[in-house]
Symmetry: D2
């Protein structure tokens, strides 16, 4: 696909995600981590305006002098910005005005990309812009779910989502031999700076599960009283459970009679035992693994096992283009899609890591502390966005994203 | 006016206030004290549904089973309610749905009020509903200003507001003799429970200002370094100044060159020296009075002076029907309208105070601690809503409401 | 008594209170409101050094250049000071060093007071110093109780305190006629600035209880579920109950079997039904009065009733010189001692109030917001410290001081 | 040394550390992380009482029934405990009573260790008790410094500490070859569970500094404006700098004229340029490395370099038995003592990690999230306590411990 075609395809997916929503849904910020949906629309557009059009297109005229201030996220070197915690206080610009901003920048980008003559370096920035927007598309889904799923009216995001029957896979422990493996990205295509620096690691032999932990398995964990047993938890995890009175995954509610129901993007439904578990924190993933006498894989173990058993990402199924908007087991040995898988690895720099110069060097490197790595993408991820070397990362207490568990163990 | 006519008039004023707004403006709650505008629309409607229609109209069918949960404010005896601090997280029901709710309840109320046969007790509840909605109409204006006025785009609430020239009144000290005075409501018309219990007080002789403190006078206070001099402030006031880095009234900004500008409902404008000061906390009112070698009047002093010098509220000018949407000096000796006037009196019970039985007994009485009394109404108040005995009350640190100063002193 | 004799008597009472304590007890600050005991020792000494010796005794040499910084409380005009919230972090100066400081200042004061030639103005400052130290002696007892009473070992403050049998008084409603009364101090002796400004008030007729509310009566309130009934509470009171899970007065614990026990300065003991209730917040006092169909008296009602029924403070019994260290009913109509009595009055300025010039003007005036008035003194008060016009004040949520209830009602 | 001799030696070191202190110093807890010194004395004693005497010595009688509640730290399986954040509120038991407790347990332990017949498993618990007390001895020094060093009187911990002249070492980059290395403990002696599970890692070639970063080098970092340049910091590090207004290492103050002084355990002194840098957070270590175009070593790199260049810990110098009570460069290639060295590694489990069963399994494993590893020991560490495999860990924002920097880089 040409840059222009990809640009159109990526940008139109954002609009597709907006379709079922009401204007009101675009405005609020219930907690710091959830940005208003309209902010995502402006911010992804600001990225192209700031890093592509303004420095490279001499005909381009800034859409609005205050928008950079409103839509910069955390790029210190790109100038001052409105405080993140107060994004949900801004009712203006309106959703319509932000869509006008998108159209204005889209027109300029269409022209600019048609004119050709784009340096390799700038091309990389543009492709980074695509991946950046894809990341925000996935955040957009997390945030929609957080906004609608805590509303006592439980409004559906989409009315047209069917209950897909999960395929109950045969569970296997997949064996991996000890040895020296290559880790990290070393090809020609797009990748983030944090996965660069291909390097060798020695792995002892281990086993990794062929399938994700299911809701049914997690209900056993709950029934066994695990949320009330401090011996299963990391100390900070136990504090988190106590302080927040956590007793189930996010969006789960126990109805009279004891059945577990949960909010899904298709509405309020009974928890399906065979579906992959979703919306758990690292603390819960870690406690579950301990309870099950297993452990989480390291990110290196995950990467080499994925390369072995799930080499071709394009064949795999449950990405956002699947339009399920929920995790569902669909094929054997699938390390991609469905839910991001918590690993036992803290997010730190690879041996030869160097962030790029300038504002884009702030993209990944400055977050390398106090977060854990997740791998594999989710049902909200775009198919052409993910790789086996892709490193996602979140703070261990978070669980509004689409996160789940694949177990590992020693032999 | 008949009950029906008054109902229509009060309810349509709410819709008038909504006209200039965008849907986005109705959704957010920037701080605890500011409720989403759409919540006000639902809550005032819930009042009529809950206290008039459901107990009295046997034909009435509840509009939605969850709305009482969403739109009850603080009436413990009226059932559970959604947490106040989280009102701004709810994007649904949409603004349109809430207007549908209003129309549905309005139709039922029109029918009910046309059918007649309304007991005196129920009539009082209905009139309370009118006054309740009028209070929320004024809060609605405070909240609009808070939402638009902190937006760096400074969007106007109304584009059609002209800069009215203030009449620079001749300032006088009005004398009041010592003696025994009657305080509180004792007539036949509507009044709140907290102003009932007419009783006698002895007042020593005093003087009270004929006019409100102006912006120009307050700029002198600022220039004199008053915001940096702890000796002028109550101890908690000084803590508040320090912690919040307060150096001017709310919505004021000092531009390069030193000129003071402020956000008004007509947009961002230069502070007008002759206009009455607005948007100050009790702490600032108290510090200003000390700096000026005066004091604030007690609520009793205010009430008897108002009865003496400003007896006929209906002749007075700058209420919300004036459509100025800002304070402006317009006539001599006017104790009504423009800005609520901070008094030196804490909000406590009158000697014979008894709250009514039931949920409506929660209206005023349970707030009688840690708040200060304000008197007289503002440019956001409805003309038929105010009286000389009317007791408004706010916490001393608040200033998003339309609050100002009238000085008093001993002779 | 001469100034010198009074000085010695007041200062030695501080040392008497210290006698039973361990060094460790002098160091900690469990919450903001509780100052370390050794800080009280230093601060009261600093008062005489700063306001008497340094400006008036040319031979006096400052004890230590950093002590003013460490022992100034809140007198902005007396210079910088160590942050109040961090007093409990300072292990030095040691208790012994602070006693050395006391001795050093005492010697200088003895000499200074012996030399005579003290102006009337300075004499007033010295007497203010006595009253200041007496206030801190009482705070010292509150703080001792807070420090020892929350320790799971429940160490006694004094081992020699006997269980005194309460006299079960005949309860009466004392009647007061309507009329104009004088309020405030107008004599020759010592008084605080906040009680000055004798003025007239009109009071409607009322009744006031001859005795304090007892523990037994309050147990009925608890048994009736009052701590779980929001309709009995001020809104902020109910929030306070919920947030702090309050279900009894401070220092009360319900043992297995349901009996109420409480920490007293004599150790952990069964709650005595006939003793006056102690350690309640304004919120609890207000809720109890409502539950009992009464109300709290205003401070004006309290003062005129006290002048009528309890005119001679010196005849009354349960002050700190009684060495009971607990409240106990001992004689009829006694408005003094035992427990400070919450009134329905917010702490605001009297009509003609003017604070003195200079640092001592910060003593009382700057606290006149968000606090409620208490009257009458307690079992921790010095007999020669209290008057019927004396206005004590605390925030409504506090209850580590010796606070109780006397009811009033309308006729 | 026999168990008994080691017991006596370890326990007496605690008393040695207490010698110069005042009783007041033992009581306070200025922040959550700093426990009262007397608590350390009780807690280390409780360890022997709880895990050695009570389950194994049938003659042993518990010293006090409430002490387990007061002195358990975080061992959930060992019973309820007093809340950590409130340790500083307890003035009782007194220091003397806790020393009595120590003597009582010491006598029982002396007898028990003399009687012999101790199983291998119990022996390991006793030796863990020694190491546990040694860890608290080091924390004791951190906490002393925190308590005295923030006091505006700057009291010395010891008056007898001389200014030792640092040896200005020749700085070298030490080279390490790429290859497979063994990591973790695999011998016969004492070790913690978290360093067990010897395993192989592949390391690419790297260089590591022969010496620690000095104060002089860090002053250059400050002078270069590094504390004001967000591009040098991790995002959470920058937030930490801003929120806490950090502009220098802990205990440093810039005096008039610009010279840097710092509180040391010997008092307030000028910062010595040649001494190793101490009291920095991970954020500062990471920012300094970035500014210097280097990086921190991983814990694996540190361990193999230490094994290569600094194999014999016993020959090394600046441990607590040196009685310097400060870091000082004393010999070449010394990876031990002086300051704990921040590594780039998050504290997570080794591949074959399994915590022990029971309460002692709570010792290390439950903290394996959100902390960073430090290696090598400090001037506060006991010589027989440290190993090249020893993993210490702290949250990245902490710096009251003796922490510094050794740089690494790629070749």
């Amino acid at each position: 696909m040409s840059l222009l075609e990809t640009y159109k395809q990526v940008r139109s997916h954002t609009e597709y995600l907006c379709e079922p929503l009401e204007i009101e849904d675009f405005v609020v910020q219930p907690v710091l981590d959830v940005s208003p949906l309209k902010w995502h629309l402006g911010h992804t557009t600001w990225f192209f305006e700031t890093f592509v059009l303004k420095p490279n297109d001499h005909n381009y005229k800034e859409f609005h002098p205050k928008y950079p201030y409103l839509f910069n996220s955390y790029y210190v070197s790109a100038g001052d910005r409105w405080e993140r915690a107060s994004r949900g206080q801004l009712t203006r610009p309106t959703v319509k005005e932000i869509f006008d901003y998108r159209k204005y920048v889209d027109q300029a980008m269409h022209q600019f990309l048609s004119d050709g003559n784009i340096s390799e370096e700038l091309k990389n920035v543009i492709i980074l812009g695509f991946n950046h927007e894809q990341q925000h598309q996935e955040l957009f889904l997390y945030d929609i779910k957080r906004i609608l799923g805590d509303n006592p009216l439980y409004p559906s995001y989409r009315e047209d989502l069917k209950e897909t029957k999960a395929i109950n896979e045969k569970f296997e422990w997949l064996k991996m031999d000890e040895g020296i493996y290559d880790i990290g990205f070393d090809g020609a295509g797009f990748h983030f700076d944090n996965e660069r620096g291909k390097h060798k690691v020695f792995l002892h032999e281990f086993q990794i599960a062929s399938a994700l932990v299911t809701n049914g398995e997690f209900i056993e964990f709950i029934k066994d009283g695990a949320y009330r047993d401090p011996m299963l938890w990391l100390s900070e995890g136990w504090d988190w459970v106590q302080k927040n009175e956590v007793n189930a995954p996010r969006y789960w509610h126990q109805e009279d009679g004891g059945e577990w129901w949960n909010y899904t993007l298709g509405g309020y439904r009974k928890v399906s035992d065979d579906d992959p578990l979703c919306h758990i924190s690292y603390y819960e993933a870690d406690a579950f693994a301990r309870w099950k006498n297993g452990r989480l894989p390291t990110e290196q173990e995950w990467e080499v096992a994925c390369n072995m058993y799930s080499p071709n990402v394009l064949l795999k199924t449950n990405f956002v283009d699947n339009r399920q908007f929920k995790p569902i087991q669909t094929s054997d040995y699938d390390f991609f899609g469905n839910v991001w898988e918590w690993t036992a690895s803290a997010y730190t720099a690879y041996p030869y890591y160097r962030p790029p110069k300038g504002a884009l060097g702030e993209y990944n490197g400055k977050f390398m502390v106090n977060q854990m790595v997740l791998r594999g993408g989710s049902f909200g991820t775009s198919r052409n966005h993910i790789r086996s070397t892709y490193r996602n990362f979140f703070h261990p207490h978070l669980r509004w994203m689409f996160s789940g568990i694949r177990l590992a163990k020693h032999i």
